[in-house]
Symmetry: D2
């Protein structure tokens, strides 16, 4: 059960609500976000919610039986729109493109990518400065210095930055230089990291786990939301299956389902999804038809020379063609 | 190695080719289809194919290192177009819709479905008369009598029939009443059935196994082709994964890959793919963007009363809307 | 609901039972096996089974809510023992070893294998004469002539034969020469083949599908049983997962669960399970501890020269060591 | 390539080694553990390792082509033995039992569990004080105070403690009160946590990811090892598959493979593996036959009242019976 409280609810009013919940043996968790105050009450007894809904200080009340609560569309019917500033909004009805290299490598690389994006009207640049790597002997990214260099150039060009955060300790350092925190697939159930990201006022793009369920993804988002941060995007990036003809099984089904289950924006990552350059365009377009609010993808001036092996990375001309097709596909879908 | 022979190659010429292959220790299989004669030669030795390619009676020769041979695009660059008669063609550049109920139930149901399809310009009707069922105590379809009844009405309306064949013994009986044989997911590696379908001159739609690989699907098609029947369509219908938020994981990635690997048409089955009615439309459209040459889908006047549970079945109005959107999506894709 | 009828139930008595079922809207299927007559009644209404259980001609009645019925331990508490003749019995409390090559290759190979088995007291020989192969260009086995040759030698040595049947048409030809029909993983839902095997009076070893569920395996067994053949063994042979460090994921969990869900014997196939020679022994022993009533495994005098690649095949000395360890492990388990 | 250096290698000697590596374009990473100093050199050029192996200050050198290096049996042939003190050693030839509740709940529960373990000669107690939970509204454990209470009682009884650490910040607080750090499946690729655990001198039990590959598990162990901590155990705890008849697919195949690939001890977790109480015993015994050096399992005085749902938890009498059978099974295996 979700109870939204008046922002200026009085202590005595709140106590009455809590007493009522205690009477029916519901355990209540207080949630305060940048926008509203809630009580999440979990219990077993059948109960007429109007008995609480009509109390002073209660703004709204609703039953949500899913394991996830505040991120459910059963709670909030209207889709969440995330404002990145400068008129840039992510959510239903807008189409967001986030493009850039796997890793931030050099000033020159950043400059060239920014020029490429600017020429195409792409407003958000992706790139890694902290890289999760399977092997401890691999390159782990340029770190905070790389991020500062990147931020200086990107902000000058009016380009927003999304990049992965891997641990709680990095959050504070990164905060001034990023526009969206990304949580990678391997950290999708790193609950302490999710808790911490719930306490900052920057949007978070949360990737589905490598074999995470849709339900687990929504509960992971609930971690962030219930810690205070409502500005969350979900990202489908492919799951692990038995098939080895591609890198991951991009699960466009999940996109369709997420758009129905949650009010949060849903972003597709076809680069890591299918993971093979020559198919990325088809999977990007398929994802849009499945309902995606945006696409995050890898581009590089010379993919074959990228730090990562670049197998899933588009060249600039390939990306140019795809940006155009994605926008056409989105327009068709919106006009259905 | 694939060697295409002249249709009128002389015995002495053929013997020379075979002798050459024997010399390099290649095992040759003779393949005669409705369109051409081939030798499929498998061996290990490196070899200059021109030594055979220049022999009299040899029309073409090509190396294909994949386990599948004749269905590979490495062999035949031009995509296969399957002619169903009456100007109806399935293959790259055309868009095929096949719609109908899970099971053929009654004359009334058939009539209503035909009227629905005809009104929408849908030329191919799907439906089951032999139903594979997990439980031996379930309804197994109306059988050959149902097929005859269906065929009478469909052919009168100019509608083609696609339906599943489950065993070799059924083929001959079904042959006069069907336009396309369908092989279901559970029979995707029923090699004797595939062999037998290679010997009839009717197109075959071959579904991917429940957890079949893309490679296995192509090798299964090779069974049909190498027995003489070149008119094969492949069908992606969802694979088994750990996710339980939907029925199957529709693998649109496979559609993209199949379109690159083979010259055969690729059809999407979103009904069995995601398997949940309210998402079928999105997955159908996503499949088109991934490259599908057609969509096979379940429709029923009253889905909730269908023999099957009907959870994946669209109502007529839902289907009408989807036909239109699929055609728009296909048009956009073709005009990229 | 399962109703076991007296073997000599009178027509008028049977009609009363059927009338009673019709009254409560239960659909009844008559099942006659080599041992007993049953009615399988499926319906939704809650119902006091004593109203039928006390009717004349009714021997036993029980509710079984699973999709599988007669193979369920809820129906038959006592485990099934399958008698192969000559004192050889498969089922709880006995331990069966079935060993032999992937394919029957030659008289010499058969002789050597029989000598090896006889020296070790192994009474059942496996081997393929009809081989399901992914590629149509691969060797498909010696066929019925190979089987006859094998049978002559095996029966002379008092060794039983288990071999795969791939299609209905082969059953009659094979019948005089085999002791157990094997249904391969690819045919685990070839319902027509299962129906046909239900009509012969030879035991059947039914393999789990490549990604078949435990429930599907039990329903496939129900096909055979409900067509009249109660002598069925189930076989776990590994499932498909994302892991590629081995060939299949041998699911020993399934062995433990099957032994609880069904009264049928459960056999482990570690050769196809893990599919890598050096681990076969450990997985065989693990399967016994999980509850297996027997093990089917590949042995060959020179594994590396076997028709199949032989990667999962043990040499004779490796097999000798494993036979001994399996028996020790089984003894320990039985004495717990 | 792994180069083990003399503990007292001189700077000038080290520089010579590094120079040699630079000449062949190998990138070297310095690794210092509690036992030895290494250089891990990664490069592409073929190279005669004796040119470095014979340099002063070099103790040993070996090529390891796997992505994991120091944890590979190709580097260290002799299996690692982990000493927990008081004569308790984990590794090949010993058999370790770790048992206890899912969560530490109360003093009374701890007392009862310790008495149960002590009576059975079980020397290591498991239990969670920091609990990873899918939902933010679930109980997350008693935290550090619970750990202190537990430690006081356990150490008085001579029982060692293994418990999960979820974030870097917890390590220092937990250090005085635990004997083995456990890394849970959800954190198996939380590389910052792995780095940090590589810097403490306490053993680590590392669980395989929910759908982690065997290779990823070994590379995760390499993270810990290469940061300085050689005392690592690996734990198989079930993977995600399509089968829903049990909670996870306990992958005993992985146990067999890990024992061949690495010198580190391998522990089986049948409680989370199959995840259903009545099958835990069979899977525990199967795991031993597959090669496990120990078993970690859940026990509770009243499983149905445990904080977690307790579905995978054994009662004390069930556990008593299993301890005995595991020891018998281990003895049989060691005497093969």
């Amino acid at each position: 059960m979700i109870i939204q409280l008046d922002k200026n609810i009085q202590t005595v009013e709140l106590e009455k609500v809590e007493k009522k919940l205690a009477e029916i043996n519901y355990k209540a968790t207080s949630v305060k976000t940048q926008y509203a105050d809630y009580l999440i009450a979990v219990g077993k007894k059948e109960f007429d919610i109007r008995a609480i809904g009509t109390l002073p200080g209660v703004k709204d009340i609703h039953r949500v039986s899913d394991a996830y609560k505040l991120v459910s569309k059963k709670w909030r019917v209207e889709d969440t729109m995330i404002d990145l500033g400068d008129g840039l909004q992510i959510g239903t009805g807008n189409f967001a493109i986030m493009a850039g290299p796997c890793s931030i490598e050099s000033e020159e690389q950043v400059e060239k990518t920014i020029n490429h994006l600017a020429a195409q009207g792409v407003k958000i640049m992706r790139g890694g400065v902290y890289k999760p790597r399977s092997s401890p002997y691999s390159f782990r990214g340029l770190g905070i210095d790389g991020l500062k260099m990147w931020h200086e150039r990107a902000s000058a060009a009016g380009i927003k930055i999304i990049t992965e955060v891997m641990m709680v300790e990095q959050i504070e350092d990164m905060l001034p230089y990023i526009d969206v925190f990304q949580v990678g697939a391997r950290n999708s159930q790193n609950f302490n990291l999710l808790d911490a990201l719930g306490k900052v006022d920057k949007p978070v793009l949360l990737k589905r786990g490598i074999s995470g369920t849709i339900d687990e993804l929504l509960q992971a988002a609930e971690y962030i939301f219930s810690n205070g941060n409502e500005r969350i995007m979900l990202c489908e990036r492919g799951i692990r299956s038995y098939e080895k003809a591609y890198r991951n099984t991009m699960d466009v089904n999940a996109i369709a389902i997420l758009k129905e289950k949650t009010h949060l924006p849903v972003i597709a990552d076809p680069s890591h999804g299918i993971g093979v350059r020559k198919y990325v365009d088809k999977i990007a377009l398929a994802s849009i038809m499945a309902g995606a609010d945006g696409v995050i993808m890898e581009v590089h001036e010379t993919p074959e020379k990228a730090f990562s092996d670049g197998q899933q990375t588009l060249s600039f001309p390939q990306a140019d063609r795809l940006y155009k097709r994605m926008r056409q596909t989105f327009d068709l879908r919106e006009n259905f």
